[in-house]
Symmetry: C2
Subunit: 162 residues, 2 copies
Amino acid sequence: MRLSEGVEWGAHVCGLLSVLPDGATLSGAHLADYHGVPPAYMAKHLQALSRAGVVSAGRGPTGGYRLARPASEITLWDVTQAIEGSAPAFRCQDIRTRGPVGATPKECKRMCGIAKAFLAAENAWRASLQAVTVADVMGDAAKDFSAAKIKRFATWLEDAAH
Amino acid sequence: MRLSEGVEWGAHVCGLLSVLPDGATLSGAHLADYHGVPPAYMAKHLQALSRAGVVSAGRGPTGGYRLARPASEITLWDVTQAIEGSAPAFRCQDIRTRGPVGATPKECKRMCGIAKAFLAAENAWRASLQAVTVADVMGDAAKDFSAAKIKRFATWLEDAAH
């Protein structure tokens, strides 16, 4: 089982957008440059984040991206769901109904205990991601930023942000 | 993100093996028949469960399978790990080190907050699966077994178990 790499890119993009000055935006090309990935790859994930209402895209060729709401209101689950969709990782095939001793519909009124346990585990996973916002992650990350990194970032941003 | 279908098969196989009479075993062919899947497909998952020490296989052509320990000591995480392995679903690519403002090794002494949050969510998922045993699931499922199903099962088992 592997989470799409796009989820990690999406989380980093949201982290970067969360530290933009008020009203500023970044283009898809600059977001790709910042993260060192091809623009087409970044564009795919930006579209997903935009469709899910996590980021909003300005109009026209110079229209850049910004967060659609405050970083304190965007959780890592929002980002995950935007990129991965919300289909459960465990997809019950109702195995108990198969084979020579398969349960009848009447014997299957309750959800299979195996499916129930796996879906409960996914709920725990989801709740954990819902408890962490982009603002939380960036607040924590900022503790590790050296003065040199902040200076490099400010220089890059001056050229990139619109 | 999708959990391998084999995890669900593995859990059902363990559930079936947990209700065998003491000392009885079931062959791979019978386990495949019971679940209505091709023997080769079942064999692949049985090998994984066997390698992980969840089931044990008798020797020789008539050697069947049984649980390697009591069903109350086999969790759904044991089954998941046997089939899926234990690599995390989130695999940090250290995105923070990339691009023109990439963090230096010195700025990366602590784990990236994004990776930390995703791994914490997986820990919650794992803990949830570790809290449910095959015995728990079967105890719950047994409440839905009709007398007719138990009779069908006993007839099938009489022919199949060794």
